[in-house]
């Protein structure tokens, strides 16, 4: 545990010393918050956003975007750079059990996403007067599940050999999920082909799981099963695809 705590604190310091990564993971969801909030406000419209205010619809999604930025971009690019530079090689030859390395990455991802999500929720409530979650426990549980999903996807992406490749794949997934899964345009206006792609994306299901407890709707076991299947598939694939060198 000492090794995990020390590794987490070192990795956290390293993250904070990379201003670009910090800015990207924190600023992007905030940018969306203020652009979408400025355009749509938070007045409910029965035709869009599941019938609730735009910001009440978006804020749970922006919390997912924080996790997506951390899991699809920051985490894999960091790990692939470690492998390219020989840091993984050095760590593997050390006395640290491999799980402390990955545990520290996941712990840092959790702390960053927590800070980012609290910032999104805090600013949205101050500026746009959003409703708070109907079920705080339900939302917290969904948020944790969202973290597991994006950490699993991030570890899978970190099997990509080059950091350019990992960054490209991560950015591609991030923007496609953001646009189609419900953090971009209202899902109601998407075309048929867009809906078809949307249904292939894990964030589509994950985002409903975040919104439902927030909006006071029932927890969906079907969506949970889909997300769990994505997590299991990504984790197993990551386990076999990961390379130290």
């Amino acid at each position: 545990m000492h090794a995990l705590a020390r590794s987490t604190s070192i990795e956290m310091k390293l993250f904070l010393r990379e201003p670009l990564t910090v800015a990207f993971t924190m600023a992007l969801p905030l940018l969306f918050l203020f652009v979408m909030g400025g355009i749509f406000g938070n007045t409910p419209n029965p035709h869009y956003y599941r019938g609730v205010g735009a910001l009440d619809f978006y804020v749970p999604g922006y919390c997912a975007l924080v996790w997506a930025a951390v899991g699809l971009l920051a985490l894999p690019v960091h790990l692939v750079r470690y492998r390219e530079d020989g840091v993984l090689r050095r760590l593997r030859a050390s006395a640290a059990p491999p799980w402390t390395l990955f545990g520290a990455q996941v712990a840092v991802a959790f702390l960053i996403s927590l800070a980012g999500s609290l910032m999104v929720i805090g600013l949205a409530s101050v500026v746009y007067d959003i409703h708070f979650p109907h079920s705080v426990a339900g939302f917290a549980g969904a948020w944790l599940l969202c973290g597991v999903l994006f950490c699993a996807l991030g570890l899978l992406l970190s099997a990509i050999p080059s950091s350019r490749g990992a960054l490209g794949a991560g950015l591609g997934l991030f923007f496609v999920m953001m646009m189609l899964s419900g953090a971009g345009p209202p899902p109601e206006v998407l075309t048929g082909a867009m809906h078809w792609v949307r249904n292939l994306l894990p964030l589509t299901y994950m985002l409903r799981l975040l919104q439902d407890p927030w909006l006071g709707l029932a927890w969906s076991m079907a969506d949970t099963a889909v997300v769990a299947a994505f997590i299991a598939a990504a984790a197993v694939a990551a386990r076999f695809a990961f390379r130290w060198e």
């Binding site: 705590a5 006395a95 059990p97």
Partner: protein
């Protein structure tokens, strides 16, 4: 020297073979290393030294053969093994923005209660760079940090792969003294090198590897003695006839041109030549004795060519 403590070998390798594709990088290598011994693996690039050491460290799996390090099998017990060994790798890095003291404290946290990372900062000349980022260190400073990291858990066996690459001559001598001190405290040192002066100065025993095989295994002194016993004595003698030196016992050949005399022979030839010169009243100020170095022997064993491996 070797052994010590009567506890048997610390490292046992029998028939180690490792292939990359069809080419064997290590081809049926066997050796034993005793406690508190500095054991050198010497060879050209691609001779299989690093692969051998990586198998011992559990970083690569051997295709066949048996390895025991501290009684453990690196292939299946690497976690237990890595707590008791230290590794300095030929190609590795740390995160660019980690500070020197953070790296040492971090690696020390993997084995709490073992070793003193603060003392290592001073010993390895990093006190002035304590707060510097890894990315801003010079090659020599990085290298010293890597050696310090290899020692941070007070290991029973430490593997040093090209330890002094990038160190300036003064720093190399300091590093050698420190490694000897570590050996004297009871640590076994496995040194991979192609620096002949380093191997000759530091190693208690040496294995010379060529094309994946150990072709020689001995102390540096005996290795040199077995391969060449020829000693050369040189001095200037511009206007004297010194042809009587041919009669000195042990002298095999003598050449005299451009005022330079070169006598070759074996045994105590240097002393006998010096004594004969003094007896004849010839007292050159530049008498020079060349004994063959490890480098001469090494070149004789592995040959001279630019083809690697």
């Amino acid at each position: 020297m070797a052994g010590g403590g009567g506890t048997g070998p610390v490292i046992c390798v029998t028939g180690l073979t490792k292939r990359y594709g069809a080419t064997p990088a290590v081809d049926g290598v066997s050796f034993e290393i005793g406690r508190a011994e500095i054991f050198g693996l010497l060879g050209r690039n691609g001779a299989g030294k690093t692969t051998t050491v990586e198998c011992l460290q559990g970083l690569r799996h051997a295709d066949s053969g048996e390895i025991r390090v501290l009684g453990l099998d690196p292939g299946t017990q690497s976690a237990a093994l890595r707590r008791r060994i230290g590794c300095q790798l030929q190609e590795s890095a740390l995160p660019a923005r980690i500070k020197v003291w953070e790296a040492l404290e971090w690696f020390a946290s993997f084995c709490p209660g073992r070793g003193d990372w603060n003392a290592l900062i001073g010993e390895w000349g990093l006190a002035g760079k304590r707060n510097a980022h890894f990315g801003d260190l010079s090659g020599g400073q990085r290298q010293r940090l890597f050696v310090a990291l290899a020692l941070v858990n007070d290991p029973e066996v430490v593997f040093l792969d090209e330890m002094t690459t990038g160190l300036d001559p003064a720093a190399r001598h300091v590093a050698w003294d420190l490694i000897e001190a570590i050996r004297d405290r009871g640590t076994t040192v496995v040194l991979v090198t192609h620096a002949m002066d380093e191997a000759e100065r530091l190693c208690d025993r040496l294995a010379v590897m060529d094309a994946g095989k150990i072709v020689e295994l001995d102390t540096p002194h005996d290795l040199i003695a077995r391969h060449t016993s020829e000693i050369t004595v040189r001095f200037s003698a511009a206007h004297q006839d010194v042809s009587w030196l041919r009669e000195v016992p042990g002298v095999a050949a003598m050449a005299h041109h451009d005022g330079q005399v070169e006598v070759t022979g074996c045994g105590p030839v240097a002393v006998d030549v010096a004594a004969a010169l003094a007896a004849h009243g010839v007292r050159p100020a530049d008498l020079w004795v060349d004994r063959p170095s490890l480098e001469d022997v090494f070149l004789r064993i592995v040959g001279r060519s630019l083809d690697e491996g």
